[in-house]
Symmetry: D2
Subunit: 252 residues, 4 copies
């Protein structure tokens, strides 16, 4: 599914903001995730310890460039991540705005070009903009990661029509909703629309019980995908009886 790698789970999990490494590991386990994102930003001994912890999860690592605001920062971070984590996968974030953490489409496309040319397999964090998506594919990306809402906001799908249009336009390209999902029902909704996977962090890490919430998300995402494949009933404007009425006259 992603760059030739087939996976069972459609949930990817971020590893920041957990109360403790133990809780993080529990949450990963409970979620069923096979891919976890990881930031390079934990340096020195703490960073090494953290990477040891992650290796226990037996998940595939997807390093990210979280916190980078320029093409240069993102490219440099990606190169270092490749060395440190031994993978050409990179979740490319180039933040354009400090409050909303929205991607900078210009720097993002430029960084994607550079990194794809260097052999990276890029997972770009982008908006629902079709044109930006097309430029990312032209740059060599084979996956797109549109946001649902601003990172950490828990607002769910802020522009569902935009995502629906994106799905219709990019047939055959894996689309992963990345950022803004706050509840399992929102993740299921995205899956029911035919989006391919969900990347979560805050909603799990900041839950009262992260492992239980991770399990709930894992289940809801599977449910949304199954529903998409099972063919949802069409929505109707007016009601119609689900129980056919016959034989009533005899009863009264």
């Amino acid at each position: 599914m992603f760059y030739g790698v087939d996976l069972t789970s459609r949930l990817m999990l971020g590893t920041a903001q957990y109360p403790s490494p133990a809780v993080l590991l529990e949450a990963i386990e409970a979620s069923g995730a096979e891919i976890i994102t990881v930031s390079l930003r934990r340096e020195g001994a703490a960073g090494a310890a953290f990477r040891n912890i992650l290796s226990e999860s037996r998940c595939r690592l997807l390093p990210n460039t979280a916190g980078c605001h320029t093409t240069r920062e993102a490219v440099t971070t990606a190169r270092m991540a490749r060395e440190v984590f031994g993978t050409s996968w990179i979740k490319l974030e180039v933040i354009g705005h400090a409050d909303t953490l929205q991607p900078d489409p210009f720097a993002l496309v430029e960084a994607a070009r550079v990194l794809c040319a260097e052999g990276f397999e890029v997972f770009p964090y982008t908006t629902e903009d079709l044109i930006v998506g097309e430029k990312l594919l032209e740059a060599g990306c084979k996956v797109l990661m549109p946001w649902g809402a601003p990172i950490g906001s828990g607002q769910g799908l802020r522009n569902p029509e935009g995502l629906r249009t994106m799905r219709a336009h990019f047939t055959g390209i894996p689309l992963v909703v990345d950022a803004g999902i706050g509840a399992p029902s929102q993740a299921a909704q995205a899956m029911e629309m035919g989006l391919d996977a969900i990347l979560l962090n805050t909603a799990v890490a900041k839950a009262v019980d992260p492992a239980a919430m991770a399990r709930a998300f894992g289940r809801a995402i599977q449910a949304g995908r199954e529903a998409f494949e099972a063919g949802l009933m069409p929505r109707r404007d007016m009601a119609c009886a689900s129980t056919p009425v016959f034989g009533l006259a005899e009863l009264v």
Copy 2:
């Protein structure tokens, strides 16, 4: 949970409109439901055959009064159902409007009074109206089944604020969303709000693959409940970083 009966699954399944009895049984099995609703309206040999089929499911039966438009019809139907199905459980529907199939609150409360007095354990299909709910409890009901949207419409939760208010008001009373749910994400949303269970029919029966859809709903409902218990993150108006940024200076 319901009239002293504890259950594992929070999904109840209707048994109308399936392509075939075999598909119905598959769907029940896949859903994990422990309660299925059944209409008395299948008379004679066909009815007996159908009841045999349902008995294979090993679910507890919840007979309904679907299609009844008056107190008298509903009460008569309930009495016959008690005899035929050997249970004092009754899902009480008194339809007030032929197009929307909304309950008639006046006839509903009256029928509930009569039936509770006769020892029935009544599951009333009602709107999100608090006062109607209170009257139903006064009548002796120990469960309420507010609609999500008109029966068979698949619109989901048409008035989520109304259901939220209902949840806040009726602490300790099991609330089952009955009617209008079209997708697993909608069922999960109801569960995340703290509602207790979901009754479905059309969304499963009319899916392209009913058994797969039943499985999806079962999972989504479980996910929604787990999320409710695990403590959802609060929704935020503005974005905030999920990955704390530090150590960036060294990288560039």
Copy 3:
């Protein structure tokens, strides 16, 4: 339009909660309202003074039974209002729940029966429930006042599908959205759906500048009605060009 009285304005204004009588009069004037509601609850000298103030507005008075929780309270209040205000019009409120101030449908219908039989022209504050609406018409009401949302909440139309269904069902009956409207856009939305008028109080009284807000609501309600009559364009799922493209080849 209402009990044989034709009006130009489709806005009715409540008179509670204003910073001062002068501001109230200004708001009434700016709104263009021809009907104002008034509570009997201001007793003694203060009440008389207040009624003098209202008489300056030259609006038709619609006394209400705000704060009544039983049929008996409401009926008694209506009778007193008829004497004090010299009108058989009565806005009938029978509150069923102290927090949401939702109407009690049972007591409401009962009070409507009593009052209609006594020659009152009743404007019942009700929910969007079709059956309750029908009972009110049977009782003799010739107008229905469904809520938009709980009184004073400013949530707008909490259940637009419910109101749309109500409009479709009660052709020829004036429907006035009463309660819950917080912004002119919400009032316009109701009018675009073909509802007949809006009753407001809190959104005007609690605005920073009540008179300016009253003017804004008056205009928005007129706009919504004009739009309904002018025939709104259908909503489209996908975009289509508003400017036909031709002659482009020559330009490049």
Copy 4:
């Protein structure tokens, strides 16, 4: 307000798709618009006749580059428009996608740079993307025209949170919602959020009665602005009484 030009009306009107020039002129008049957009695409004698018609409206003309898909097309069209219409104002559209007619942010910013450098006063049709907006300001634009929804769709504000964020970020920059508005209530909603103006075409041109619809939009936009200035009440989660209850005891 726009490039040093102060205006009374906050509605701009497109001139395409009307049943006849007479209806167009009526709609302009009824709307109160002081700015109308016009496409260069009507060539030859028909174009000259059309321009004569528009000059009767006494509105300020805002030529557009509708239908352009590349920077070069848009720049060439803008230059021709300046000559033909004798104005340095240009509504810059560079379409990136044939179905949704969404702007191409890359070509848009490039064209804006070229045109601003040539002394044009550019009104760019853009998305709600903050970074694209910033680039357009850097290019020299002093106005932004974010879309509400795809052109001609009548969906209203598809991403209200995105527009709200845009408003918060670009203090002091006029923001005009351009495209997607289908009903006056939607236009009023945008104005209540503090956006500065609305550009409409299809919703008026395709109304059953365009002039009446134009009047409705004019009024709704004024209402929305007045409401913004008058200070909207805060939305409340739970209901609270608008009529203070006192003196009740005496009545019963």
